[in-house]
């Protein structure tokens, strides 16, 4: 009953998400969203409510598809330290230097100044930290992660480094140096037969 949607909601959300990643919530106008998605204003408001709700939906999709997809691709369960290493390295190899940016980092900074942080920011950080913790714990059981460190505190360290790397990448910092940083970090975490 009634006319059917002439567009793919997932594709539309992805386009909007990319725009928000690149230019931030405030930096994207409804006009920009029209251009990015191909939808007209009316359809956007009819389908998603308003700009804030559209952003919420795009952010939720980011966590669900991009973030979880990236984890699944580079650091799936049982991938251990190599998985985490690959996950971090992937931050430096955005396709053709597009520098889309991470919506979690960007939103934490842009929206964190006033009021509480966005729900999806908190959730994205939680997903990352829990993933780190789990991979570290299972690596530790297999003797691939130093037994003198706790998975929880190391996960927070990795989360902090992760966010810092994304800031530096966005600031145009030399990527090779960051690559070395990542390798050093994981080499030191893996040194279970640490000379002692």
């Amino acid at each position: 009953m009634g006319r059917t949607r002439s567009y793919d909601e997932g594709a539309v959300l992805s386009s909007a998400m990319h725009a928000f990643r690149r230019k931030g919530y405030r930096g994207v106008s409804i006009r920009d969203l029209e251009d990015a998605t191909g939808l007209k204003v009316g359809s956007i408001y009819n389908s998603f409510g308003d700009k804030a709700a559209f952003f919420d939906a795009a952010f939720a999709r980011y966590n669900r598809i991009v973030l979880r997809g990236r984890i699944e691709r580079f650091a799936p369960a049982e991938s251990g330290m190599d998985g985490l290493r690959a996950l971090f390295a992937s931050l430096l190899h955005e396709p053709n230097d597009e520098s889309l940016g991470c919506l979690i980092t960007n939103s934490a900074v842009e929206l964190g100044g006033e009021g509480p942080p966005h729900r999806c920011t908190v959730e994205g950080l939680r997903i990352l930290k829990e993933t780190f913790t789990e991979r570290l714990a299972s690596s530790q059981r297999r003797g691939k992660f130093r037994s003198d460190k706790s998975p929880e505190s190391t996960a927070l360290r990795l989360l902090t480094l992760y966010q810092g790397i994304l800031v530096l990448v966005r600031a145009g910092h030399d990527k090779r140096a960051l690559e070395v940083l990542i390798q050093d970090e994981f080499n030191s975490l893996e040194a279970s037969h640490d000379p002692r």
Copy 2:
């Protein structure tokens, strides 16, 4: 020759700077700047040019006063590892939880999406990294920093952690956990008589 300024330029720039720290470049309107500084639109444009130039001046002042002042206060030359430790700890103790934010981090993220990063972002990061490198090198000479690590690579790691901490603070992350993270990090850097 001519009327004299009825306001203190330094104070005005500081007020504007605080507004930009809190709400970002795009998040602050000229109206906001009027409220923050007490100046009227005309005076702002007469004195600083336009919004972008006003921001540039405020950002330059941030690096000159806030950043260098913080370094001077917590990690002056010859303060060694304890200085760096105090500098990092100070990030968690913003007065009365104001959460003003770091203009370097915030601008790297907000303005990094399109075009090259802001000049002051690059300079702020350079100041931080050079400070870290110098303090680490002099600590190493005095045997207070592990001799098996290079001041340069460690400085980049500290810079990354520094930026990551600021992101997490802005995201409302638990500060006590970050406090522990900082202490652990410096404890491990200082372990020069590392068991080997």
